[in-house]
Amino acid sequence: MPTFVYMTRCDGCGHCVDICPSDIMHIDTTYRRAYNIEPNMCWECYSCVKACPQNAIDVRGYADFAPLGHSVRVVRDEEKGVIAWRIKFRNGKKDMSLLAPITTKPWGTCIPQLANVAGPSQEQRNSQLLYNEPKYIRMDDGGLHTLESNGLVMKEGVYY
């Protein structure tokens, strides 16, 4: 299955409900806490696990092939720009901690607001170029590849 929610940790905030790509984290109307309503549509993508402020959500491997007694936990920190994983084997022989960056820039600050950049000229509109091109293709002054520039033609038939 997929994800499950610890009764004593969940406070019913709904972050998991908001983020789940499969729409399977719902709030139980009796307990006012979240749970996975459709485990066989869970991808174990960990989106809800990462989003939970209480660390109340965990994953127990799919019952049709995964034995009990394992653990893969995660903490994702946008401020620090890192994600930390811990993997524990069923037999206790392996216990790994792994750390990876999730971004190299302060969150969301380096993405341009295209409504505010200078708009394209008519010449650019009539060309095959996209925003920031040709510069961003090679980060130099080179142009866009065309059939002509690369000495190619398109020909019908069987050619390999």
């Binding site: 790509p21 989106s47 708009g119 095959q128 293709i137 980060m139 866009l144 590849h145």
Partner: protein
């Protein structure tokens, strides 16, 4: 049902589905249409939606012309041989010449791309793949889309495209419903860019019970890209070209980094190399043009993915399974071992969960591989999708009708899984296609092509009734029975999905029949799908979540029908290892060196099939020599 109707009018660009293709479209549209109204509708939350919701550990499509690595035509030739010749080379060349500029922007936005410290270039996993720490790939590109869009409607599932009532075969927007509130949403728009997804869960999965969620492609990829366009009467191409993946057993964790970067290889249960012994027989089936191990060895031309699957399937059938990936050598290096685990955590956490549960340490044992159930999509090693116009400076006349990435329906554009004949686009290529589509959509509007669009109130009301019918039907018939899920007047969405998967598996070449089908099986399958369509009119949804599932299975059903039609039409076995036509087991270049194109008439439901010519990129001097 008393759900509110919310109309968003005067939209210029509606992005339907915001995975990598849709986010690329929304972002770029603002540059070419600075005063245009750009709206995004996404059935989940844009921060974690689409196939990249979980993250990625590699960008699989990057040329590296900046570092002198590859030119666009190199990538086209690679995709061409991998797909046994059947690709739209104009669209692929176009995607490949732009894709690096998308990747360079990702890096600027904060996506951590690994560097080769010696060379200064990006760290290569293989010739086309670069390695990233991509846990937040999707939130980063979502941020870009949100900055550009006027509004993002999260949790709005698009069910239908709206067609213009003033001019035939022109799109006019879309309708759908909010999965949380139940509001009925009407988007009247001059253009629609279809960024919806390909299809998992069409074929019965190998897993049973809970594990059915551990599909290779995301379980929320419901084939909506295809169903929306087919229902609007758009032409489709290469829909028979489903893909089967050789992956780690049960978890379906990615193998690319293991093969390419960690230098792992495969062997059968008895420790023997098995692949080459199947090649002579395969060569007889497909011809030397497509399988030439000596040439591949000498020139590094890849052996097509489907043919490598074929070897696994046949070796297992010969009783020498399972196939293992040999990891024990490379995993002795602690650095490589760490990469191996990061690779899963970055994009398929479930595989790490499974190995932790089964105590599989690839340092001490070689993990099992298997071939998956088939998937229908258009951005991995397969090219299902709509028949699109190509760029004016590249495409031959048969591939070009005015606007780049416009479908055969006017004003309808696409990106990612939606675009047919463009395999190996992956995340970066899908984003790039979205950008291309956005620029074209702006041109289309600026040229005045979208003037005078009309959608009647009657149409809007009729579609509302249709959207909510599964809930009405439930209300009417729920109390025919005491309790439970067995009702003589309806099936619930899961029951319909089970039925569809069994049918596709048995008649269209799923795992339980070893990917085998033939004309007779397909004809029976099509009849059964027709009857199922009648029953889908009676699908019941007890709440809004089930209404979402009801529309997903309806979209999967339409996609399946188109897949079945295309599979029946192409009377050859073009991709052994993806599927086999038992009545035509050889590749047939004389009759089938063509792209298949279909159109379903929205009024009659009848399909028209045709062959479209295949154009290949040829060097100018070679072409002259051939004249």
């Amino acid at each position: 049902m008393a759900y509110k109707t919310i109309v968003e009018d005067n939209i210029d660009i509606l992005v339907a589905g915001a995975g990598l293709g849709g986010t690329g479209a929304a972002f770029e549209a603002r540059y070419w249409g600075q005063n245009k109204k750009i709206i995004v509708a996404e059935k989940a939350n844009i921060d974690r939606s689409g196939a990249v919701a979980q993250g990625l550990y590699a960008i699989n499509c990057y040329m590296g012309t900046r570092f002198g690595e590859n030119n666009p035509e190199d990538h086209v030739r690679y995709a061409r041989i991998d797909l046994m010749g059947m690709v739209r080379e104009d669209l692929l060349f176009d995607m490949a010449r732009h894709v690096d500029s998308a990747v360079h922007q990702f890096e600027e936005w904060g996506l951590p791309i690994m560097r080769d410290l010696q060379k200064g270039s990006y760290l290569r996993e293989g010739r086309w793949q670069i390695m990233i720490h991509g846990e937040s790939y999707k939130p980063i590109v979502a941020e870009a889309a949100k900055k550009s869009a006027d509004k993002v409607y999260n949790r709005v599932c698009i069910t239908h495209l709206l067609m213009d009532e003033a001019k035939e075969n022109r799109v006019a927007g879309a309708v759908g419903f909010n999965v949380r509130t139940g509001d009925y949403h009407v988007f009247k728009s001059k253009t629609v860019i279809c960024g919806a997804g390909g299809a998992s869960n069409l074929f019965k999965p190998r897993s049973v019970g809970e594990g059915a969620g551990r599909v290779w492609y995301a379980p929320w990829s419901s084939g909506s890209a295809y169903a929306l366009m087919i229902n609007a009467g758009a032409k489709m191409t290469q829909m028979e070209n489903r893909i089967v993946l050789a992956r780690f057993k049960d978890g379906y964790g990615p193998v690319g980094a293991y093969f390419l970067h960690l230098k792992a290889y495969t062997q059968n249960a008895y420790g023997d190399e098995y692949e080459s012994k199947w090649f002579p027989g395969l060569q007889e089936m497909v011809g030397k043009e497509y399988l030439d191990p000596e040439l591949s060895h000498a020139t590094h031309r890849p052996i097509p993915t489907c043919l490598r699957n074929h070897a696994i399937i046949h070796e297992v059938n010969a009783g020498r399974g399972p196939i293992h990936m040999v990891t024990m050598h490379s995993f002795q290096d602690p650095h490589l071992e760490e990469i191996g685990w990061h690779n899963f955590l970055g994009m398929t956490v479930g595989q790490a969960v499974l190995w932790a549960a089964t105590d599989v340490d690839p340092k001490n044992e070689n993990p099992e591989l298997t071939t998956s159930e088939p998937y229908v999509m258009g951005s991995h090693a397969t090219g299902c999708g709509a028949w699109c116009s190509g760029p004016a400076d590249i495409s031959p006349p048969e591939y070009q009708w005015g606007y780049n990435r416009m479908m055969s329906v006017e004003g309808l554009f696409g990106a990612g899984d939606a675009v047919g004949g463009t395999p190996h686009a992956f995340s970066s290529g899908s984003f790039t296609e979205g950008r291309i589509a956005a620029k074209s959509a702006c041109q289309y509007i600026d040229d005045g092509k979208a003037e005078g669009i009309r959608v009647s109130e009657a149409t809007i009301a009729k579609l509302k009734e249709e959207v909510f019918r599964p809930m009405e039907h439930y209300k009417v018939h729920r109390n025919d029975i005491v309790a439970g899920e067995v009702n003589p007047n309806y099936h619930n969405p899961r029951q319909n999905l089970d039925r569809l998967q069994k049918l596709m598996d048995e008649y269209c070449g799923g795992v339980t029949v070893n990917y085998m089908t033939n004309d007779k099986l397909l004809s029976i399958g099509l009849k059964k799908l027709k009857i199922m369509e009648e029953d889908l009119q009676k699908i019941a949804a007890k709440d809004l979540h089930e209404l979402l599932r009801a529309w997903e299975v309806k979209h999967r059903h339409r996609t399946s029908e188109c897949v079945m039609q295309h599979t029946l039409f192409r009377k050859e076995t073009r991709w052994p290892g993806y599927y086999y036509r038992g009545d035509a087991l050889k590749l047939d270049d004389k009759n089938w060196h063509v792209l298949t194109v279909s159109r379903r008439d929205p009024q009659t439901g009848k399909y028209t099939m045709e062959k479209a010519p295949l154009y290949h990129l040829v060097d100018v001097d070679k072409a002259a020599a051939a004249e």
